[in-house]
Structure formats: C-alpha cells, structure tokens
C-alpha cells in the first residue's frame, strides 16, 4: 500500500456549514476537521444527514452556506484523493459486470479518457484485490457475490484510486455478523497502512473497538475528536433515554452513566 497519497494538512475542514435540499435544511452548523490517520465513525439515525454530509464532502452536493475544503481544495478537485465506498442501495447489484472490471474503475479519471488501462493499472488492481482477499473471485460477476464479498470489492475499488481518505456510507448494511467483523478487520488494517477512514452508519452495534474517534449526527454534529460518546451526545442525537441505546453498544465507547448496569 505504498502508493497511498500523503499530505500534511487536515484532509477535510468544514466550518459553519449548512446544507440540504430544496425546502429542507438537513445539516445545520457543521464544524468538522478530519485529521490524518484518524478512523472516524459517525453514528446517527436514518434521515439525520449522514449521507448528505458525505455528499457534501464528495462535492456531489453544494452547501447552502459555510465553507468546506478537501485536501485544501474545493471538494470537486480534492475528491480525487478520496476513495468512496457507496451505500448498498446506490448501485445496481444486478448489473452484469465482473469483480475485476469494478475494481479497475478506480483507475478512471478525467485525465485519461482516451487511454486504455495500462499494465501498471492491472498490477495495482491485482494488488488491491489480493489485499481484500478477493483476487480469486476476480472473474465472478458482482451479482454472484455475498453482501460482505461485494463490500470488500468496493473497498478494493476505492483503494485502487490511491486515496488519502477512505469514505464509507453504511459499509455493513445487509452484511451478516461474521462478514461485518471481517470488514472492520480490513478497515483497521487499511487504517494502519496510513489511510484515514471516515465512515457513517445508523447501526450502533458496529461502532467497535476499531474506531479511533466517534461522532453523532442528527442535523447537528457532535464530534470532539474523542472516542467516547457522552450521555448528552446520544440524548441530543437520538432524543431518547440513553439506557435504551446503551445495551446495544460495547461498553468501552460509552461514558459511565448513572442507572446503567
């Protein structure tokens, strides 16, 4: 993984950002700095704006106000250093395409429109496929894979772009528990190789020991660059008694709270 892009500045810097769609503001006053080497897990309820935040970071949605810089540039430029793993629902799982062809997409860019894939591209694709343990499946069609295998293919595709930052939208949705652990092990390994990771999920169970820092998002973002979720963060994010949620969470990420068992 020595082709990974390095930079000294924060990977993403968001200040006082508001974003949403035609009549509805989804994100309010977001401030977020993603530092090099971090592994951020962002939790929040469905409709809380997690995907919207990702779309803003990826330059797919213009913010209404506030500022955002990706690798010190506009998202539309800086995003070439982001490896994006979309949500399960974003792509067509029935699409007739092989694993290898999906991963090769990571080598596409506006600069190389008329050039065919090179042997260097193929080497990188082999390497990344082997890295996620999917090399032997390279000729399979995407629709022949399990949810977990498919997710590893998308991670390989994102890594083939040599990203500084890996952005994942609900990576463990529609994936069984065993595959879930495998994916987190894989992300942990990737993070140790120097790729910063930013993932969002509505599933509280997946916030595991692999994550370095945790945030909560429900229109407003509660993120302090720490690995603890406080009662207040959960209260204001989910708006329900903390105890109800606490049982689903590994205890290490929860601050001590009264009345818990």
């Amino acid at each position: 993984m020595n082709d990974i892009f390095k930079t000294s500045q924060p990977l993403v810097e968001i200040k006082n950002l508001y974003a949403g769609y035609q009549y509805e503001m989804i994100l309010e006053d977001i401030n977020l700095t993603i530092e090099q080497d971090d592994f951020i897990g962002l939790i929040g309820p469905n409709g809380g704006g997690k995907t919207t935040l990702l779309r803003v970071i990826l330059g797919l949605l213009q913010p209404k106000s506030g500022s955002i810089a990706v690798m010190g540039e506009k998202p539309e430029k800086g995003r070439r250093r982001i490896g994006y793993v979309p949500q399960f629902a974003e792509y067509d799982t029935e699409f007739p395409i092989s694993v290898r062809d999906v991963v090769r997409m990571g080598r596409l860019s506006s600069q190389r429109l008329f050039k065919p894939y090179s042997t260097e591209d193929d080497r990188l694709v082999d390497e990344r496929l082997a890295w996620v343990g999917m090399l032997e499946y390279q000729d399979r069609a995407i629709r022949e894979l399990s949810g977990g295998q498919r997710q590893r293919v998308y991670i390989a595709r994102a890594l083939t772009t040599n990203p500084a930052l890996l952005v994942l939208d609900e990576p463990t949705i529609s994936v069984d528990i065993e595959a879930r652990t495998q994916i987190y092990e894989l992300l942990h390994k990737i993070n140790q190789e120097g790729v910063t990771i930013f993932l969002v999920t509505h599933d509280l169970n997946v916030i595991s020991s692999y994550v370095k820092t945790i945030g909560c998002l429900n229109r407003k973002l509660h993120y302090h660059g720490e690995k603890q979720i406080t009662d207040e963060m959960l209260q204001s994010t989910y708006g329900c008694p903390v105890d109800l949620i606490a049982h689903g969470l590994p205890h290490r990420v929860l601050a001590e709270h009264e009345g818990g068992n």
Binding site: R79, P86, E90, D92, E94, I97
Partner: protein, 271 residues
C-alpha cells in the same frame, strides 16, 4: 432464396437489417442497463413531430426526424438530470406533444399522406440507398462513441456517484448517450416504425441480461438477436404477406417471453 436476393428492395432491406442490428445491440444494451427505456420511447415518439413538419415543408422527413429526436434527446436528458420529481410525467407529456405536432402538420399538408404511416409502422422494404448510407453513418458514429468511451460508459451506467467522484464527465456522457439514442431511433424508424422502436431497442439486450454476466457479451448477443429478429421477420412477412415491422416485433416479443420462461426453469442461469 436466390430469387429473393435478385430484388434490389430485398437486398436493401436485408442490408438495413444488418446495419440496424449493430446499433440496436450496442445502444439497446446501454438503454436497458441504464434503465432508459422510457426516455427512449419518448425520443422515438417525439420524432414524429419532425416527420410531420418535414412533410409540411416539403423536405426529407428523415431530416425532420433527426432534428426533432436530437432536440427531444437533449430536452429529456436535461429533464432527467435536473428535475428531482415528475421526470416521467414531463417526458410523457413531451412524448405526446411530439406526436400531436406531427399529426397536426400532416393535417395541414395537402395531398396523399399514406407515406406518413410508414414512419409509424416502418417499411423496411422501402429502404433506399440514401437510407442505407445514413444508417452506415449512424453506425460509425455509435461504434466510435462506444469503443472510445466503453470503460467510462460502463462506469457511469453502473455507479454514477463513483464516476462523478472520479471526475468523469458524467453529464456529458449521459447527454451524448441520449443523442445516440436519438440517432438510433431515426434509423429504427425506417425498419419497425417509431411506435414499436422500444421493443427492438430493448428486447435483444433484455434477453442478454437474463443469461450473460458481462456487458460486452450482452452487446454481442443483442446484435446477433437483432439480426435474427429483423431477418426472420422480414422473410416471414414476405412469404405470408404481413406488415414487416409488426412481424419483426412479434418474433422479438415471443422470443423474449420464451427466454423468460427458459430463464425461470434454468438453475444455472445468473439470478
């Protein structure tokens, strides 16, 4: 058979079948995979407005059809990209307006108008040398477009967000693809008529997606199937004195239904 080939209209018709099949297989596969069947139908029917206008002005109807289908492609492509809701309504309305314009212009044109029907229902036996050259031109355009941008088109069809994050010209490729659909439509109009274009554009590729796992293979199979449908339909219509366009479409339709049944009872086929 040798007797058949001695007629120049038959040779032209068979040649048209070959040319149409190439574009049909390639563009049809992209239409099916990118789920653009409805927009293709819209472009096809709007083209009739151009045919009517051309008749009224006394110019070659193909020119009118090209102009209208390209304008419709850009409009519908734009609507599909920009408007968040009611895209299907807007496309449906344009679809009907195009047809209405064609009919009104036909009303205003004095004289015998049976020829207008041939654009609705097709007349592969009336294909001229000029038509064949036009079809060859469209084929060259479509082939070079798809060969040049194959990997990008595949990426955009499969996962548009990722393609955008890679800074691929997603909107440009999309509009270019819709324009190709527009040209394909004009070409198919001569063969099966614009009312039945959707079937010939989508059925071969749809059968391909039932049994094959790669886009390229589906394109090849779709080309072969289009060729079988057009040639088979042409011969049947000749021997039984039927309307060629409808015969071609019926063969395609029956093949698709059979393919669905075979696929249902086949365990090894991809899900």
């Amino acid at each position: 058979m040798a007797e058949l080939l001695s007629y120049s209209f038959m040779r032209n018709a068979l040649m048209a079948g070959v040319l149409v099949s190439l574009t049909c297989g390639i563009i049809g596969t992209l239409v099916v995979l990118k789920r653009m069947v409805f927009i293709s139908g819209g472009v096809a029917h709007t083209a009739y407005g151009g045919v009517g206008l051309a008749f009224y002005l006394g110019v070659n109807p193909i020119l009118g059809a090209v102009a209208f289908s390209l304008i419709a492609s850009f409009l519908m492509g734009y609507v599909q990209r920009q408007t968040r809701q009611r895209q299907d309504t807007l496309i449906g309305v344009m679809w009907a307006i195009g047809m209405a314009i064609g009919i009104i212009f036909a009303d205003m044109t004095p004289g015998y108008k049976a020829d207008l029907m041939s654009y609705l229902f097709g007349s592969i036996l009336a294909v001229t040398h000029t038509d064949l050259w036009m079809m060859l031109g469209v084929n060259l355009l479509v082939l070079s477009f798809v060969i040049l941008f194959y990997k990008e088109l595949q990426a955009v069809a499969f996962d548009e967000s990722f393609a955008r994050v890679r800074n691929l010209p997603v909107d440009l490729l999309y509009i270019a693809l819709v324009a190709m659909i527009g040209l394909a439509v004009v070409m198919l109009m001569r063969v099966v008529g614009l009312i039945m274009i959707i079937a010939l554009l989508t059925v071969p590729a749809a059968i391909g997606t039932l049994f094959l796992k790669h886009m390229k293979q589906i394109m090849w199979l779709a080309i072969a199937l289009s060729l079988i449908f057009t040639t088979g339909g042409l011969l049947l219509s000749y021997f039984f004195n039927l309307t060629s366009g409808a015969t071609i479409i019926l063969i395609a339709g029956i093949s698709y239904l059979s393919a669905l049944l075979i696929h249902k009872s086949c365990r090894q086929c991809p899900a």
